[in-house]
Symmetry: C2
Subunit: 476 residues, 2 copies
């Protein structure tokens, strides 16, 4: 339990401290002994389990299967794809001793698994009949990050990584886009995160990819968060790892691959988008606890209220809700209200002697704070409807915020002002050069989050050259 005396830092006053305090007070995660490592505590992990369940269902419904590949990757494997090793080398952790002996070849803990999975695929892919291969794995990965923050950037994190192999370039591209859309659907429908999707600029592309597609979310402080990516790998890895197959004309050719991932980072996104000064707001579909019943009793009617609260709890549980009843006797109802608001429970159900008399309960929404009296009898239906409404409203609110914070800038001066004063997504044409991209980053700390799928031409306000519209933001 959070001590009654501790108060959450205000989000508006100190968003960084608010974020860390909230994670600690809501018991989402805790710091490990190795820098950048964290334990995900049961309440935080339950959110992750619900994200996993939602996504895994979407993967399986589209023909993907889960598998598991080794944690340790020999150095020589990582070196096979030149861009790939260059991208990940600075972040690797190396195992050099095993079973009390120095190893002949250092082994990296996977920062991502393309290089080891390709080694298996070389054997598994022989004929066009073996294709497509549609495999995903849920696992831990490790990247030796310099600056870390729980969920958002951690040395070790949990994720899923899909790795597919296809006979044609077109199929691989379609797969990469299909998975991007599955992520987007999950963000909208389960997480109430209205991400925008698009194409990464070459400098932000995944190391070794032909094209990287991204889901970008806008956080409450106006900074962007890369929430999931899907990569069209072309034949780069197939060539580097010598994966070939006999096509229908009996010719040996290289296949095309994709990879795509979403990590525990999204929990950070959930906190930053939905949280407020009172604490977390968890979208009902991901909430470990959808509703908490808080009985309001005084000495003489305690037994009766308690009995009614327990009966309601059993009924709701029986109806399939994830529900808790807070029968703690040491704390006041007010203290409990704060506590469950901090934890982001979508609905509080209050039940006192008067409510029992009137055959009603009080439903209090976490998203708006609104109170509503509903009949005790129609309770499961009322709660179900309210949870759906909250889910919808949270997406609506976040979408309004995102729209209000997506701006076009006519001049570079204006661009700089918006980034400095308001943040958010800022749209300008970009001439497509690394120089301009680097200059903007240096001068404003804003990076290209993505190029919209719908191409739009215009004059780059920085260089004056013609270019394609890009969406910039300062990012996590």
């Amino acid at each position: 339990m959070v001590e009654a005396t501790e108060k959450l830092t205000k989000k508006s006053e100190d968003p960084s401290r608010w974020y860390l305090d909230l994670i600690r007070m809501a018991k989402l995660a805790d710091y490990g002994p190795v820098r950048g490592t964290f334990a995900i505590r049961p309440y935080g992990f339950a959110i992750w389990e619900r994200i996993q369940c939602d996504l895994d269902g979407r993967f399986k419904a589209t023909g993907h299967q889960n598998a598991y590949f080794p944690l340790l990757i020999p150095e020589s494997y990582l070196k096979k794809e030149a861009e790939h090793v260059e991208g990940f080398d600075p972040e690797l952790a190396w195992v050099t001793i095993g079973g009390r002996e120095e190893l002949e070849e250092p082994l990296a803990i996977r920062p991502t698994s393309e290089s080891i999975i390709c080694d298996f695929y070389r054997n598994w892919v022989q004929s066009y009949r073996d294709l497509p291969i549609l495999i995903n794995q849920w696992c831990n990965v490790l990247r030796w990050e310099k600056v870390t923050r729980p969920f958002l950037r951690t040395a070790e994190f949990l994720w899923q990584e899909g790795h597919t192999v296809h006979a044609t370039a077109e199929e691989a591209r379609e797969e990469a886009l299909k998975m991007l859309n599955i992520y987007r659907d999950c963000f909208y429908e389960a997480m109430a995160l209205p991400v925008l999707t698009g194409i990464k600029s070459p400098s932000e592309r995944f190391a070794g990819a032909v094209e990287t597609y991204t889901c970008e979310g806008l956080m409450g402080d106006g900074r962007a968060l890369q929430a999931a990516t899907s990569h069209d790998l072309g034949q780069n890895f197939a060539r580097a790892f010598d994966i070939t197959f006999l096509d229908e004309r009996q010719e040996r050719v290289y296949p095309y691959q994709t990879s795509w991932g979403l990590s525990t980072r999204t929990i950070g996104g959930l906190i930053l988008v939905h949280g407020d000064d009172r604490g977390l707001k968890i979208p009902p579909k991901l909430a470990p606890v959808e509703a908490v019943i808080v009985p309001i009793w005084r000495g003489k009617n305690k037994a009766e209220v308690r009995k009614e609260a327990e009966a309601l709890y059993s009924e709701l549980k029986g109806s399939g809700f994830r529900v808790e009843v807070d029968l703690d006797e040491e704390h006041s109802p007010g203290w409990k209200f704060n506590e469950h608001e901090l934890r982001g429970v979508p609905v509080r159900v209050e039940l006192g002697p008067k409510d029992i008399e009137k055959g009603q309960v009080v439903l209090v929404r976490r998203d708006t704070g609104e109170k509503e009296f509903v009949g005790r009898r129609g309770m499961p239906e009322s709660l179900r409807a309210l949870l759906a409404e909250i889910q919808e409203n949270m997406l609506h609110q976040a979408t309004e915020f995102r729209n209000a914070n997506t701006r076009r800038a006519e001049t570079y001066q204006k661009f700089k002002e918006i980034i400095e004063e308001k943040r958010g997504f800022v749209i300008i044409p970009w001439d497509g050069t690394e120089e301009t991209e680097a200059r903007i980053k240096e001068e404003t700390k804003a990076t290209i989050r993505f190029l919209p799928f719908e191409r739009e031409e215009g004059k780059d306000p920085v260089s004056g050259r013609m270019g394609r519209t890009a969406v910039f933001a300062r990012a996590y």
Copy 2:
């Protein structure tokens, strides 16, 4: 697809080769580049997912929650509990370089997580109100094994490890036994593995535990497999890691802990117990595919049979079965029968033009090979009943085998004969000394698998001293 020409080695002729061939041919796992590491392929992983689902439900129903703890453990943490580090030190893999720099302290990849979890628990446990802590994690662990075999003994493996904290010794003991029984129930009910349960001798106890309880299975070749263990840790780890709490009398005391685990090793157990010369036999509850429909067509009636097979597939899928229809046109029905028997699919559904005419289908059981004609109309019910019968029969067969291979030996000579000629579980009184245990192991390669919970006294046939009945076997 397995090549038509390859034939599975006979289990009776060369059980070791049979085991490895079967894993390869049924695409359960494949060797990784680092010795002792493996990929679990989709068909093997789907079995693991079903085991996870069953166990996780049992854990949650008894109040346990999932969490996630860091992969990397600083050397100094592992050294805190003396027996623990002594037990695991020879098997550790060490990270010594991170982010291109030599680390100040080497970090072990977790071989098990007691030492890192205790570090978190030191902060999370402050008052008796924080207890019990009932946490489980699903993760990968690594032990640098010298001799490895897919699933049975691998350097990296997947498992769950539960870690609980309790106020009293009695509660911790009860928890350790409760989890042992949960494992046993899962083995019996889901895996059709009739394990025996008991107490480990001190020499086979988990490093750092007060008592280790075990589930021991008997494999088809008469060797035992330790299938899951549950440890009463007493206060050993609490003292080593300085975990204390204020009890109800406001005194600071050490809590009591447990830990318990089950791994992908159980997939090896499933193969060894149920598999036969034709291939795998997967218990219906764990089978990725419960039934496969094989249409039997000739040229002229192909379209009709195909249509009927697809309709049956849709109907069964709609009724919630995990079902496949094999519409491949390159292979004969006979080839397909072999293939699906190799994969251990519990029921084959044959459907030919005559069956369609008669309004029937043919169900062929993988466990007994028996054929049965059933009406096409009552199909979902017939299949459901047959799957339940197969599940029950597989447990029955394995139990008969176990019973037939559990023997008492009156003399040490007789004990040696049984171990040498018949293997299986052999029961004799043991005087409780490490000397006798070591002598038996040296002379017969048999180890004490467990001491039955029901104590039975007798004269140790090796030393002639009085002792307690113990169950021996050669083990994996």
